[in-house]
Amino acid sequence: MPPSFRILEDIAVADVAFEAIGDTPSELFVAAAQAVIEMLANPMTVSKTWYRTIELEDELFTDLLFDWLSEMVYLKDAEGVVFCQATATVVHEPLRNRWRLHGELIGEVIDSTRHELRSDVKAVTKHLYEVSEHEGQWKARVVLDI
């Protein structure tokens, strides 16, 4: 099953909640990033003219995912960009007790005349935040502050 996400309509009256799904940790990170990408703007209207490599690591898988999504929100404001694509490779290094992410974000500096802009995601919250793995399927529930 390809990585995917769905909006959780009955959670978060004032903001947006989603559930991301993947068959591997890497796919989960891609799915969650895709949710943020599509919250911000229609990726079909965003060209590939801006690139950023993200290298992060954390002891906790849940915190690594949180930091990955938070990095996207930070770059949106700090660099004034929206995204069209994300890739992610997440590995566990048991000897170091660390999870490590190598991610790439692709997008474009915001142009309101060409981009179909949607919601201004301002923070990733810990409200109802949950990451789980069951029978090989990885899921994350995330509430974004809009």
């Binding site: 009256v13 930070y74 700090a78 301002k122």
Partner: protein, 483 residues
């Protein structure tokens, strides 16, 4: 009564409902919800859960409160008010909100509907051009790091010193637009990088700039309205709703993360991770307070630069200076903030999250201009239904730590709103009713449809019947800018 909670909720008055401490282990004070029976019945389960969680926080005094526009939020409910002893109690970013000093500003004019209506389209076009809105919008004020540090320390005062506004504006802003205990060294580089280019921008979501009209038959207190500069006769006013943008959000995120560790050091446990807090007097608590005030000052500055651009837009369209157009500020209020204020118990750290300060007559913090009437309170409704100008009361000082509602409160999720109506439908419906809408995002417009909000008139009636605020005027929208 069929409420969205299993807890016992007792009627104190027709507008005040109480959940006793016996209803949840750890509650130090009762919880009180200000609502009519109808509003209370419609309140989501999160309100009851969250207001009773707040009641468990160390050092809380009297009651954990929720205003009638309340709905669930992060940690505190939206509409939440709680006051803490500064020596025994805590400070919590969850009690302030991510958007530090999200707030409202109202500007009056001498123009009437008959002056503006023939030029409403060019006016809204010029406002849309002058005030950046939407995802990633950048302001026209270029700041280096040292300038931004000055904005953090001085707030709206920095803006007036640099030609954005009038000296008299400062008197008509809560805290005179500058909170003193602000320290830029407590703010992360990431927060600065997110915020330094956003000064003078509206943002998106439920933030807006609205041109409104005040008719004589919608003024409820002529004397107080006149003191506020509201003269009726289809007078045109302008309302702004926005906050500290990415800067404030990053500060909130930074300190929510660091408070998780601080709580372990101080032996504090909370019912909800988003209630992460630290003792107010602790180094962590003071660091957050100083950083929060930087964000608060940046929001005051943000609304001040926007005001300058609004005045410029009106001058361009009407060919008269803002002074000639009588474009004085009525007031600027914060509805996401924590402040040290003095009550009968002494100084308290009052958290208002989606709640507005509503200081009554005689309060020394108010400018001389409003000391007889009590302060103006500006409450925004949905873009379709209109807003209210209210006044603070002495009763609020005794009942709710000088606090009241902030707006309508949402009843429907953004996803549900977009399924029910499209942005284009909303825009056309509003135009048919004589309201011009300029929006950066069509989907964002649908999310903000009036059907997604409580009826603000019901909420306003509640706070008036409770005696914590009094109605002064209803403000009807004729033009709206959204991100």
């Amino acid at each position: 009564m069929d409420l969205n909670t299993h807890m016992t909720v007792s009627r104190i008055t027709d507008q005040i409902w109480e959940i006793p401490t016996s209803e949840k282990e750890g509650m130090r004070v009762p919880a009180r919800i200000y609502a009519t029976e109808t509003i209370l019945t419609d309140m989501d389960s999160g309100v009851f859960e969250q207001v009773t969680n707040v009641a468990c926080l160390p050092g809380i005094r009297r009651y954990a409160l929720c205003m009638p526009d309340g709905h669930w939020g992060y940690g505190f409910p939206i509409g939440g008010v709680a006051a803490f002893d500064p020596d025994e109690g805590i400070i919590s970013p969850g009690g302030v909100g991510y958007d530090v000093n999200c707030g409202m500003r109202l500007i009056r004019t001498d123009l009437t509907l008959s002056d503006v209506k023939p030029r409403l389209e060019p006016l809204m076009t010029e406002l849309f051009r002058k005030v950046p809105a939407g995802v990633g919008s950048k302001g026209s004020v270029r700041l280096n790091r040292r300038d931004f540090d000055d904005v953090m320390r001085k707030g709206a005062k920095w803006c007036v010193e640099h030609g954005y506004g009038w000296t008299e504006d400062l008197e008509r802003i809560e805290e005179r637009g500058c909170i003193n205990y602000a320290n830029p060294s407590n703010v992360s580089d990431r927060a600065v990088e997110r915020g330094h280019s956003q000064l003078g921008t509206l943002g998106a979501g439920n933030h807006y700039l609205e041109v409104q009209v005040v008719s004589n038959n919608r003024i409820f207190d002529m004397e107080t309205a006149a003191a506020f500069g509201i003269t009726g006769h289809d007078q045109i006013v302008v309302m702004v709703h926005c906050g500290s943008r990415g800067f404030g959000h990053q500060i909130a995120s930074d300190y929510l993360k660091s408070f998780e560790k601080a709580m372990r050091r101080h032996g504090i446990t909370v019912k909800d991770q988003q209630l992460a807090c630290a003792p107010f007097r602790s180094p962590e608590g003071q660091d957050y307070f100083a950083a929060m005030n930087c964000a608060a000052n940046s929001a005051f500055a943000n609304r001040q630069v926007i005001t300058h651009h609004i005045r410029e837009a009106f001058t361009t369209v009407f060919g008269l200076s803002a002074e000639e157009l009588g474009m004085h500020l009525v007031y600027d209020v914060a509805h996401n903030i924590a402040k040290v204020e003095r009550y009968a118990e002494g100084d308290l750290v009052v958290h208002r999250k989606g709640a507005t300060r509503a200081f009554g007559p005689g309060r020394p913090e108010l400018p001389e201009l409003y000391r007889r009437t009590g302060q103006p309170v500006i409450c925004g409704g949905s873009m379709e239904t209109g807003s209210y100008l209210l006044a603070g009361t002495k009763h609020a000082m005794h009942e709710t730590f000088g606090s009241t509602m902030h707006g309508s409160g949402r009843t429907m999720s953004r996803a549900q709103a977009k399924k029910t109506v499209s942005g284009e439908q909303i825009r056309k419906q509003m135009e048919q009713r004589g309201i011009i809408v300029k929006a950066v995002s069509a989907s964002g417009l649908a999310e903000e449809a009036g059907l997604a909000y409580k009826n603000i008139s019901d909420v306003v009636e509640t706070v008036e019947l409770a005696g914590i605020t009094k109605k002064v005027a209803e403000l009807r929208p004729i033009g709206n800018i959204k991100g």
